[in-house]
């Protein structure tokens, strides 16, 4: 029968030891798992084997839980987590694997640690704190959104490795910072700061409000729209880049001045629709093909 099981860590850090759970039984499929202030030590070992094959309707990590969860190479690895609420005060890195259908991540303190995730994610909200998507992760948002905000004064920070699949995703930022080596298909930045690095490309970038996108990567941007007081910059590096088409509205800004000079290959053009839309490109060469 499905139950709620709370980690107490009474005898060791081993997930699969019954005495480490308040019901003196190891969680099974259908159980809700809670990590909270009752923990006497972290749930760090045997997490993969102990949780593999299970589906958990809820995993709740509260701010009272001050220890790591799982370890590198031994992540908490269920088949699926239907709903995840994460608010650990642990300052190090915790490791999750498997699918997460609906997750909310918050940070109770400014020094919150990193959640490293290797799995398929749907409908994830990051409200403060740090998240790291590792090489094999799949941000499979579909028509849902990854929302980035700043909560309780703690900025959200998301780092994305190059092997992460973002092919069906629409990332929406309202604040915080994303640094991605993988290519977001659609990136909407209404606030905060997105940084494309490595060879990250993008099919569509929408910038509005006071959102900022640093195009530091060498990947192609197929289309961008910069509205409000938004800013698209490409100012730090000198490798050649390709842009298919861009549009500027209102006070939206585009800054292409490379400190060392850089070459942009522009297929269709940058269209300036607003009288106050400044386009800077001194020191750069824009080639129209």
């Amino acid at each position: 029968m499905a139950d709620t099981k709370t980690w107490i860590g009474g005898t060791s850090t081993a997930y699969a030891t019954a005495a480490n759970w308040d019901t003196v039984t190891v969680p099974a499929t259908g159980d809700t798992i809670i990590y909270n202030h009752q923990a006497q030590q972290g749930c760090l070992t045997g997490c993969d084997a102990g949780s593999d094959g299970h589906t958990y309707p809820k995993v709740i990590v509260t701010s009272g839980y001050k220890y790591g969860l799982a370890a590198n190479g031994d992540p908490l690895d269920p088949t699926a987590i239907t709903k995840l609420y994460w608010s650990s005060a642990f300052a190090g890195t915790s490791y999750l694997k498997g699918d997460i259908d609906d997750g909310t991540f918050e940070s109770p303190t400014g020094e919150a640690g990193v959640v490293s995730i290797d799995g398929t994610l749907n409908h994830i909200a990051l409200n403060g704190g740090k998240m790291h998507l590792t090489t094999n992760a799949d941000l499979n948002s579909g028509d849902k959104l990854l929302v980035m905000t700043e909560s309780r004064g703690v900025p959200s920070r998301l780092t994305i490795d190059s092997g992460v699949t973002l092919t069906t995703s629409h990332i929406v930022m309202n604040g915080g910072e994303i640094v991605t080596l993988a290519a977001p298909v659609t990136l909407t930045v209404n606030g905060g700061h997105a940084i494309l690095r490595g060879t990250a490309a993008a099919t569509l970038i929408n910038i509005d409000g006071d959102g900022v996108v640093d195009w530091d990567s060498t990947g192609t941007i197929a289309m961008f729209h910069v509205r409000g007081d938004g800013l698209l910059r490409s100012i730090q590096y000198t490798r050649a880049k390709t842009l298919t088409e861009g549009h500027m509205y209102g006070n939206g800004r585009v800054d292409l001045r490379g400190k060392g000079g850089q070459l942009f290959t522009l297929t269709n053009g940058i269209f300036v629709h607003g009288a106050n839309s400044p386009l800077f490109a001194p020191g750069s060469v824009v080639a129209v093909s």
Partner: protein
Amino acid sequence: MPLAVHVQRDGGTGDMGDVNTIGAQDDNVGRVARFFRPGRFHLSWVRVHFSGSGSGTATLTLKLDSAHGTLWDVTLWTWTGAGIGSADVFFRIPQDELEHWIFQPGDELVYEWTNPDAGNINWGIETGLIDAA
């Protein structure tokens, strides 16, 4: 008339930023202790709090990473003895002085501070920036 101040934050347990480094083009490390606005902006105030179990102080500097290049990367302010032990930093700029603290699009403000007890001293920066007319 009150001005709309944009409060930006960063924090960590290691060193703060470096005016010469924002990370390699191929890494996914975020920017540390760097602040800016999309357009022209003023610096209004600085608050830096230190906490944790560590001890020690070091010199904190606020530098400009100029959009025009390193030739213009000036040190804006220096605070000696910033760290643990009632050594927080609070610096405010009167409203009639704001015109002297104006920065251009592409400029960034960078805090440099070498943590004397890395991992044991936490730092939290709040910076108030105002969009320039």
